[in-house]
């Protein structure tokens, strides 16, 4: 029963505080009055009686205090009091409050913004039921020396997928998910204007595996997995439904033209589901059966990820045990069918294991590409927070000398040290709570901006950036941690005030200043570390941008042309069509050159390669890059032709005279070479300098013939300069160029000074004039494509650089504050020296020398840490070593510049001190 009574008392104490206090006042007053009366009855006059009572029993005030201390809700009361006091004292020193709260808010905001992205991309589980039971399959990527490739390979072929499904049995259900791509579609059919949407292919049971229900209509089922091209349906996302169709409930039954398929919308997925790739919002899901027919039977064509859900009671290890034998057998078979594959690569294929890992957070390229950089940026944010905290701590320390009188009085009035510390910590928490709220608002605004920095037109990055509980908790935790970091030491310091010493005007300056210096030293170290990091990333980006591309990538518009024509299906006619298109575009005014290549080739991530066997040389260890090029390709790209000639019309005709010599297998490279006719001569190719150096050394390669897969022969008719294939990081790779032939997807490379929109329209006009229902799939520039490959570096340089500057600013403020305080404290001394005839320069030196050692120490510490950290992030750098003199010198220069600025003003003050005024301040 006691607790019920306690509870009522607590409520009454908190809510009826006035009443309760008034009650207590009256009770105590009445008590004391009675005591006084008794004394009076003994004969003492009123005043004497009162004094006697007070002497014996203490004052009524003290009694009330003791009651208040033991009351229910006492803690809450004092905390509330402390907070009000804290707010008042913050209001009284607005300069300090503003600096502290603003710098803290910036730091907290930056950290929260980055964390919300990290959370959405890497930490938050997919919005599906039981995400912990999801897993993803992968294997090791085949590594080729010299090429820049990711560590893991997530793509699988359809025949293998079918085998996996059979082998998994009832231990798990496997779903197929292709990476969402921004594609051109038309609603409702071919005649409508082109629009863009992110489309992804999935197996029929994918929605079921993920437990995603429709909010309208239905989702796919296993019924959609039966007939290739037999299920022209689409399920759209809730977001797309709202955005594109305004939530119209009549959307079911409407049509979408995707390539040659006219799909019917059969359902809308539930709200919040965006697919399995964090960083991408899929708009339209299409059954896997609607993908290219060849892909469904080609065991060499990997085009999707496999994600699955464990059945109850199954474990990932058990599933892997079932699938691994299937995978191993499959890889062996693949190697057996392509015996011409270089031996090191064969070994990799045979030996690479099937990997299975948890996929609660989904699986996306974004996670792979940006995972580490994001964590690094978060670390940078933590560094800034520490700097801001050190800043505020040193400011607090400086202020504590002002407040020592107040502290001394409170101690003499009976406050315990614990009580004082509690009050000071409450002040810190109040300030950081305000900063936290401001930082939260800042993060809300900044996070979308940061995401926009990461995305581009061709690969939009979208996140469900909900600033939800986890992010809120993070923000609160960071604020509280900040308060603890910067509040504890000053509170400890301030509460150590000795009343007697205060009375005598003695000040415990020395110790406070030592601590303040220590904090500034910490700031210096961190700031230097940040600057070194920021400079490294900036240098990396600059180095990448400065890589000699071997050709002129500026002013080149890239347009993808889809020739899935109704009436032209034969290759010869396609060739004629492409030649005609190239000729027409070239001839237009404003166009300096046009050439044709394959879509998705240059800098867009995909690549093709072939075997190269030079007679008389040992078998190579890898395949070489290949690239299609039309006549006048090299002139258009301004790639130097070093020897021989460009391709011409006649080079292509080698392929089409005579019947096919033999049946070819379906290796991807062979797709582009078609049938060989031994009656004809070797096919012409152009190679680059790196190729010549690798295979021919100093010999003249022109006219030489080498052999490729299945005995096909290639004759070198020209040599061009080196150019990167897909990545600027790789360095010059050997490349074999062959004549582009009509396929359905080509890219037009157009050198022009016109803007992209006009060029697209121009090409559209030409293709219309030619008829044949050609579609232009949007245009971009080569500069943009190259820029896209640098997104990670841009992120690190951009955000890292900004944060580094922010940290430097904060540290400079801290330095300034301390120097200022030091000058103020030593006014008298400086005044005396000045009066004695010291020159201004020596006065300045006097002030600066104080901190010179401090700064040097901080720099040394910062340097040490940066060496360690740089070696950790080495893989993200380009052209910058872990200990790079250029970076260090730049960082030191920037740092000294900031120090000079920060120290300039106080030093100027020191030099300008009027001895008379200073001495008079005694």
């Amino acid at each position: 029963m006691a607790w019920a009574s306690r509870w009522t008392s607590l409520c009454r104490n908190l809510l009826r505080r006035e009443r309760v206090n008034a009650d207590l006042d009256e009770e105590v007053a009445s008590y004391f009055a009675t005591l006084v009366e008794r004394r009076q009855a003994q004969g003492l006059p009123v005043e004497e009686a009162r004094r006697a009572v007070r002497l014996e029993f203490g004052s009524g005030q003290q009694v009330k205090e003791t009651v208040r201390d033991v009351r229910m809700g006492a803690t809450f009361d004092t905390t509330f009091q402390d907070v009000r006091y804290a707010l008042r004292s913050l209001r009284k020193s607005p300069a300090f409050a503003l600096t502290a709260i603003l710098s803290l808010a910036l730091a907290i905001g930056a950290n929260t913004a980055i964390y919300s992205i990290v959370d959405a991309a890497l930490l938050r589980p997919l919005p599906v039921a039981e995400p912990d039971r999801l897993f993803a399959l992968s294997t090791l990527q085949i590594q080729i020396p010299g090429q820049d490739r990711p560590a893991q390979d997530y793509s699988f072929s359809y025949p293998l997928y079918q085998q996996f499904r059979a082998a998994a049995g009832d231990s798990a259900r496997l779903g197929l998910f292709s990476n969402g791509n921004l594609t051109d579609i038309q609603i409702p059919n071919r005649g409508a204007p082109m629009e863009k949407a992110v489309c992804g292919f999935i197996s029929g049971d994918a929605f079921d595996i993920l437990h995603v229900q429709p909010v309208l209509g239905r989702v796919f089922t296993t019924a959609e997995d039966r007939v290739p091209w037999g299920h022209p349906y689409a399920v759209i996302s809730y977001d797309y439904w709202q955005r594109r169709f305004q939530g119209d409930r009549g959307v079911l039954g409407r049509h979408i033209q995707y390539g040659r398929h006219n799909l019917t919308i059969v359902g809308v997925a539930r709200k919040g589901f965006f697919g399995v790739e964090p960083g991408k919002f899929v708009d339209i899901w299409i059954p896997a059966m609607m993908y290219s027919k060849a892909a469904l039977t080609d065991s060499g064509w990997g085009w999707f990820r496999i994600l699955g859900r464990l059945s109850t009671g199954a474990t990932r290890a058990a599933v892997r045990a079932r699938l691994a034998p299937v995978f191993d057998a499959y890889e062996q078979e693949l190697v057996r069918r392509f015996p011409m594959t270089p031996e090191p690569m064969q070994k990799q294929y045979r030996e690479r294991p099937l990997l299975i890992h948890a996929a609660a957070t989904g699986a996306s390229n974004f996670q792979v590409d940006f995972g580490r950089p994001l964590w690094i940026v978060l670390g940078v944010g933590a560094g800034i927070l520490l700097i801001a905290c050190a800043n505020i701590a040193s400011l607090l320390l400086a202020r504590s000398s002002v407040r020592s009188a107040e502290m001394a009085m409170r101690i003499s009035l009976g406050a315990s040290r614990a009580r004082l510390i509690r009050q000071l910590l409450t002040e810190s928490l109040t300030a950081s709570a305000i900063a936290g709220v401001l930082g939260w608002a800042l993060a809300q605004a900044a996070a979308p901006v940061l995401v926009a920095m990461l995305s581009d037109r061709a690969n939009p990055v979208r996140f469900a950036l909900s600033m939800d509980t986890r992010v809120l908790l993070f923000c609160a935790a960071v604020s509280a941690a900040a308060a603890a970091i910067f509040g504890v030491l000053p509170a400890w310091q301030a509460s150590a005030a000795k009343p007697l010493r205060e009375l005598h005007g003695l000040r415990t300056e020395a110790r406070k200043l030592r601590l303040g210096r220590a904090f500034v030293g910490v700031q210096v170290a961190f700031a230097f570390l940040l600057i070194v990091g920021g400079a490294s990333f900036l240098f990396s980006l600059r180095n990448l941008l400065a890589v000699d591309t071997g050709f002129n990538p500026h002013n080149v518009v890239v347009i993808n042309v889809s020739t899935q024509l109704n009436d032209i299906t034969q290759k010869p006619e396609l060739n004629v069509f492409l030649d005609e298109l190239q000729r027409r575009v070239e001839g237009r005014p404003g166009i300096q050159g046009a050439a044709v290549g394959h879509a998705g080739g240059l800098f867009e991530g995909s690549h093709t390669s072939m075997e190269v066997i030079v007679p008389g040389r040992p078998r190579p260890d890898r395949q070489e890059y290949t690239m299609p090029a039309s006549p006048r390709y090299f002139a258009t790209m301004q790639l130097r032709l070093l020897a021989g000639r460009e391709f011409e019309q006649r080079d292509r005709d080698y392929q089409y005279s005579g019947p096919p010599a033999r049946i070819v297998n379906d290796a991807p490279a062979e797709k582009y070479f078609g049938n060989e006719d031994p009656a004809m001569g070797p096919r012409p190719v152009i190679v680059n300098q790196a190729f010549v150096q690798k295979y021919y050394g100093d010999e003249n390669p022109l006219g030489k013939v080498f052999v490729t897969t299945n005995g096909g022969r290639r004759e070198i008719i020209g040599v061009v300069g080196n150019a990167p294939y897909g990545s600027l990081r790789e360095g010059p790779q050997p490349i074999v160029y062959f004549v582009v032939r009509g396929t359905n997807f080509v890219a037009l490379y157009i050198r022009t000074k016109m803007d992209t929109g006009s060029v697209v329209r121009l090409v559209e006009r030409e293709t219309e004039a030619m008829g044949h229902n050609t579609r232009i799939r949007g245009g971009t520039t080569l500069d943009t494509l190259i820029g896209n490959t640098l997104l990670r570096e841009k992120l690190l340089a951009g955000i890292g650089g900004t944060f580094a500057l922010l940290g430097l600013m904060l540290a400079a403020i801290g330095l300034f504050g301390l120097l200022n305080y030091s000058v103020t404290r030593r006014r008298k001394e400086i005044g005396i020296r000045a009066a004695l005839g010291a020159r201004a320069s020596s006065l300045v030196l006097l002030v600066l020398r104080d901190l010179a050692w401090l700064i040097a120490g901080g720099l040394a510490a910062g340097l040490g840490c940066s060496l360690v950290l740089m070696s950790v992030v080495r893989s993200l750098l380009f052209g910058v070593g872990a200990v790079d003199p250029a970076v260090l010198i730049t960082a030191a220069a920037v740092f000294f510049a900031a120090t000079l600025i920060a120290g300039g003003l106080p030093a100027g003050r020191a030099a300008a001190i009027d001895p008379m005024v200073a001495l008079r301040e005694e």
Binding site: S5, S9, L35, V63
Partner: protein
């Protein structure tokens, strides 16, 4: 007056409860009674009495009511509640056990 002895918080609670067992008293009277019964050994000042009274009241063992004294002055009068009586009985039993134990220790031979 005789030297006062320091009273532990728990024993003060017991004293107050016992004092109020017979009839309700107001603040000053409680202190007077304790001093009187212990013949001056325990002198309870307001600095100790008030916190104790309020603590006991919050626990629900006594309750206070404003009333008028003979002198015409308003004063808070405290009386024991039912749960207070139960608590008192419990405390008394406890105290007897402590007493017995202390006695045994202090009078033990060799």
């Amino acid at each position: 007056m005789a030297k006062t002895v320091e009273i532990l918080q728990g024993t003060l609670d017991l004293l107050i409860l016992r004092t109020l067992e017979l009839r309700p008293l107001h603040g000053v009277a409680i202190a007077d009674r304790i001093e009187q019964v212990t013949k001056g050994t325990f002198v309870v000042g307001p600095g100790s009495l008030f916190p104790a009274l309020h603590r006991l009241a919050e626990k629900g063992w006594i309750e206070g009511q404003w009333g008028e004294q003979e002198t015409g002055r308003r004063a808070k009068c405290y009386s024991m509640t039912r749960s207070g009586r139960m608590q008192l009985a419990k405390e008394q039993r406890n105290w007897e056990r402590i007493l017995t134990a202390m006695n045994q220790v202090l009078t033990q031979e060799g």
